[in-house]
Symmetry: D2
Subunit: 331 residues, 4 copies
C-alpha cells in the first residue's frame, strides 16, 4: 500500500531526493543467513553510476553504499536491511526555484499534486532514485541464486545495430538532443510455478516493476505486441516430454505463472527529457517561458536503464519465490 | 498483498472458477452515497458477454449479476459491495480431467505451482474471471463521474482497417485458428495530480492492471514503444498558458502522475490459445499427446478485451482519486 | 490495506449485512491440496449459531454454508475460497429506519462516517459478520494441523464460578439487561519461530484480531495486565535444557515471535448493547428519544464469542505459518 | 504487508539495530505542505531518551535526529520522509556472542526463527527501535493538529499513588530487580467518523499499535476489562441533543469508528526483562546457564513507554484521518 514501497513479501522502500542529503532504501522480508556485503551491492551500483563515460551524465557521484542494518557479520539477519548513499555532488544552483516546467519531467504534475515540490534536480522524481532499486536488486539476486538475469540495450534511437549507436549518440549530444532506447531482459533458471493467478500475476508484477522505472513508456513479455499479430497456431508453444518447449512466444509465463522457460521482457525508454533545445513551456505562475536544460544529463537515459530493469526483475522474482514458498511450501 | 485482490484504497477481490457454482467479487473501500443498481452493472457486463455474435464464444451465459451487500436503497453504504453471477451454462464434460496441457493456457503452470487444479474450463484461469473485473469497473466508474473511459479494438490480426476484420475472422474461424488484437483505451477528464511517485505510479498501476488481464502480453502508455524511437525534441510535449499542451506523447502521465491530458494506453492481446489445430503437448503424466481444443471459444479474445481494459482503467483511476484525496485532501 | 480484509498471506475478506440477501467471505492464499468440505466448516459455524439455547439470541438461522469456489473434489486448489450463507430469517420490520441511535452500537458512528447506513439489524456492524470469521477460521485450522486451539468463557458478569452463570443470566434476561464476559483462548503446538519483529508481531496481530471482534474492549497475552504488577524476577520464564520453560508468564510469545509454549490470550467482551432497559439517546435528526431494544438478542454476547476468538486466533497463526515459511523456508 | 512497516496510508517503516551504525525510519504518505523541522521531532525524542534520570537506562545517547528526505524548506513535500539517528554509544562488548538466552527477551525466539541473530544489545528487538516510533509519531501529530494526545504512567509495580513510585523504584533497583507499569493515553479532539468497520477498526489498529510496543502485554479501550464486569445498562453511554454523551465507557470508539468522545486506552508494560538477579536459562548450544544482565537498563521500561504509546496513537489516528478522507472525502 505504501506508495514508495514495492513488493509483497520481499519489500523495497526507497527514499531520498536527487539533491538532498542522501538517498536510501529499506529491504524488508529478506531471508536470514544470506551472505552479503557492501562490495556485492557496490558492483551493481557501479554499473548504473553516472560519470563513467561520454554517453552518460557527467555528474560525479561515488555512489558509495553503506549497509546500516539487517546484516551481521556479513550475513542477512532477516530484519530490515537499510542502505544509504550520501549525495556528494549535488549542484543545486543548476536548478533555480522558479524554473519553467521541463516538458517530459514530473515538474508540472508534482506541482499539480502536492502544491509545491523540491525543485533541485528533479527531487524525488529524479532518476537518481533508481540507484536504490539497483541496490535492492543486488540483494534480491542473492535470494534467487538459481536465476541468472541479463539485461542489455537492444536498440538506441530506433537502431538495433550496435555499431551505429556511437555515431547516433554523438549526433544527438552535439545537437543538444537525446535518444530513446529499448532494453531486453532475460531471466533464466526460474522454475515452473512462481507467480500467482489473477492480480499478482508474475507478468503483471513485472509490468508494474518496469513501467515504474523513470522514462519507461512500454513493456512487453515474450512476443508482446508481436503476439497480437500472430495466429494462434503460430503463437502456440508446443510441449515435449520432459516439459521441454519448442518455442517461447509466451516469454516464460502462462496464466501469470512461470513455465520454467526463460522469462523475457522488453522495455521502452523514452528519450531523455532534459535537452538543450528550447521547448515552449510555462512556469509555476502560468507564464509562458522556454524550457532549456543546462544541467548534466544523459543523452540516452535508456543506456543506464538496463541495470535498473535487471534490478526490478530480480526484486519481482525473489518476491515471488518467497510468496510461492509461503503458500505452497517447498524450498 | 492478497493475490486475488487489486487496488489500494478501492479494492477488488474476485473469486470463482469458470465451471464452478458461481463467480463473484467484493469491492471494498467504495465511497458511500453513490447511486447504483444491478441494471447499471449489467449494462457493462452485457458488453463483454459471450454468445452475442459469431466472433465471440457461443457459450450462452445470461451473466445476471446480483448485488448481495454494500448497497441500501440503491445507494452504496461504504461497506463492501459483493456481486455474484451464477454459472448457468457450464459444460464440464468438454474438459476431461486427464487432458493434455493446452499450449498458451495456464494448465501446465498451474499444475507446476499447485500440484493439481480444477480442470473444468480453465478453472480460475478462465477469461470468465474478467466478468467480475467488468462488474467492478462498472462500480468504479461511478466513483469518477468526471472521467470518460473509452476503449476500442484498433487492430485485429495485424490489420488496422476495420473493414477487413470480418474476413480475417471468418478465415481464422474456418481454419480452426485464432487472431490477436490491439485495444486502445483513452480516459479523458482525469485532473492533473492523480497518481503517486515511484512505486504506485499511475502508469505502473495501469500496466499491472492491463498486463494482468488474460491473454495480454504488452502494454504501452502514450507513444509507448514509439517513444523509444523519437528524439527528445520530438517527444517533448510543449506547454502553453492555461496548462494546455501542444501534444500528448506522454499519454497523460509524467513522473507517474496525471498531467490533465487524456490518458492513453494500448494493450496487446495474443491470439486465443484454444484452437482446433493440433499442437504437440504433454499430459500431466508427461506423456506426449496432441492438444486440440473442442470447447467453445472466441476466435479473437481481444474483441471482448476492450470492456475489460476499460474496467481495469476505471478501477485504477478511481483508486488513485481516493488515494490522492486521502493524502492531499480536496474533493 | 483492504478495510474488510484480514491477514497477510492467508487473507480473509468478508462481506454482507445482517439483513441483506446473504453474508460471505473470500479466503485467499490458502495452500493447495488441503482436504475440506462444507461439513467441516459447518461444524464450527454450528458452535456460534444463534437459536441454540436460552442464553443466545432466539433468531433462527440455519446458517448453512456453501463453498462456491477454490475447492475441487474436496481439496483446496490454492485459488480463492468463496463461502456464502443466505440470510433466511431477517425480520427487517424490527428495525425502523428512523430509530434512535442505540447506545453502545455503531449506529451513530456509522452515520457520522458515511452520512447514512443500512439500519436493518445493525447492517454491516452486526455480530452476524462474525459467522464468516468462524468459517474462515475453520479453513485456517486445516492449514495448521499441528496446532490445537481451545477457547472458553472463563467469566460472566465478573463471576468466574461457572455454576453461578445460569442464575446470573436468568436475572439479567428477566431484567431486560445483559452481562459481559471474559474468554480465554489457548493455542498449543505452535512451534518456536512464528511471528515477526516490530510491526507484524504475533501478539500485535492477535491483539488486532481480537480487538476487531464485535463487543471486545480489551485483550491481554500471557499474564497481561497482571504482568504490570509483577517484578522482573517474578515474571521471568526460566528455561531448561531442551528448550523447556518453568513457567509461561509470556503467554508463548517473546519479542513478537512464538517461543514454543502455549499461546494464551484473554479477551473482554462488553455486555450486549441491545437491552430492553430504556437509555436516553437521540435519533438521526438530533431529537432526544429513549432507545429500547425490542429485537432478538443474546443476554451475553460473549458466550458466542469463544468460537469467534478461536477462529481469529486460527487465522493469525495460519497466516504466520505461511509468512514464516515464505521468509525462512522449511515446512 | 511489510513486516517492519505500520499503517495503511500514512506508513512508518523502521530499521536498525540497537548497536548497529544507526537506526532510522521512513514515513510514507504524509500530506504535503506541513511545516516540520528537526527541532520538532527532537523534542519528542528527548522525552523518551535514555540517560535522563536514575530511573531510566544510563546509556548516553544524544539521539540527534536528522531529516534526510521528504522535507524542503521546512515543509513536507508529500514524498517519503527519512529520519536517522546515529548510534553513538553502543558498547557491544557488553553482549558476548554466546550469552545465555535472556528470559523475557526475544533471544531464543529470534534464534528459533532466523537461525541466528545480531546479539548486540538485543539487536532489532531492542527498545531502541521505539525511538523511531516516537519520531514517526512526532510527524503524525502534525497531520492531526485537531487532536491532543496525552499519555502518562498511571501505575508502577501495581501502585497507583505516584508519590510511592520513587521508593518502589529505588527498592527494585537496589535489589537488581524491575517493575511493570500501566500507561494511559487519551486522545481528545478526534471527530466522530474516523475508523473503519470490521478489519481496520480504529480500536483494532490501536490494539495492534500498542501491543506491538516492546514489553507490552495487554491493551484495553475505554472500560476495557472492567466492561466485562458491567451490566449492559451500566455500560451504556447515553446520548443527548448535540451528540453529547453522558459517559464514555466505550472509550470514544463504537463499532470500530470514533464517536467524537476522547479516545482512551490503557496499556500494560511488563517489568524490564533485563535484571541483575540470576534466572536459569540455556545458551544457543542448549547448555543450562544462569542469565544475569549486566548491561545498562531501565528499572521500569514502562516509564519511557508513555511517549511511545502516544506516538503509536498519533500514527494510528493520522492514518485513519487520511483513510477517512480518501473514502469519504471532506477535510
Amino acid at each position: 500500500m505504501s506508495i514508495n514501497s514495492f513488493g509483497h513479501l520481499l519489500r523495497l522502500t526507497t527514499w531520498g531526493e536527487s539533491h538532498g542529503a542522501a538517498i536510501g532504501c529499506v529491504i524488508d522480508g529478506c531471508p536470514p543467513g544470506i551472505a552479503v556485503d557492501e562490495g556485492h551491492i557496490q558492483r551493481f551500483l557501479d554499473l548504473r553510476r553516472p560519470g563513467t563515460g561520454k554517453n552518460v551524465s557527467p555528474r560525479q557521484e561515488a555512489d558509495l553504499v553503506r549497509i546500516l542494518s539487517g546484516v551481521y557479520e556479513r550475513k542477512t539477519t532477516g530484519t530490515p536491511i537499510a542502505l544509504m548513499i550520501e549525495n556528494s555532488d549535488a549542484r543545486s544552483a543548476d536548478y533555480p526555484a522558479n524554473a519553467p516546467y521541463r516538458p517530459g519531467h514530473a515538474d508540472y504534475s508534482y506541482d499539480a499534486k502536492y502544491g509545491f515540490r523540491d525543485p533541485r534536480g528533479g527531487g524525488r522524481a529524479s532518476a537518481r532514485e533508481t540507484a536504490m532499486r539497483v541496490a535492492g536488486g543486488a540483494v534480491a539476486r542473492l535470494v534467487i541464486p538459481e536465476v541468472i538475469i541479463a539485461g542489455r540495450v537492444v536498440e538506441i534511437g530506433g537502431e538495433s545495430d550496435a555499431e551505429r549507436w556511437d555515431a547516433l549518440l554523438d549526433e544527438a549530444r552535439a545537437g543538444g538532443d537525446s535518444l530513446g532506447a529499448l532494453v531486453e531482459c532475460v531471466a533464466s533458471g526460474v522454475p515452473a510455478g512462481w507467480g500467482a493467478p489473477v492480480y499478482a500475476k508474475l507478468d503483471a508484477d513485472l509490468a508494474a516493476a518496469a513501467m515504474g522505472i523513470n522514462a519507461v513508456k512500454a513493456v512487453e513479455i515474450g512476443d508482446g505486441f508481436g503476439a497480437a499479430r500472430l495466429k494462434g497456431s503460430e503463437n502456440a508453444d508446443a510441449m515435449r516430454s520432459g516439459a521441454r518447449f519448442d518455442s517461447n512466444h509466451a516469454g516464460g509465463i502462462a496464466g501469470g505463472i512461470s513455465t520454467g522457460q526463460p522469462i523475457v521482457l522488453r522495455v521502452a525508454f523514452k528519450p531523455t527529457s532534459s535537452i538543450r533545445i528550447a521547448v515552449p513551456s510555462i512556469d509555476a505562475s502560468g507564464q509562458e517561458v522556454d524550457a532549456v536544460t543546462t544541467g548534466r544529463h544523459d543523452p540516452c537515459v535508456g543506456i543506464r536503464g538496463a541495470p535498473v530493469v535487471e534490478a526490478m526483475v530480480a526484486l519481482v522474482l525473489a518476491d515471488h519465490k518467497l510468496l510461492h514458498r509461503g503458500q505452497c511450501g517447498g524450498q
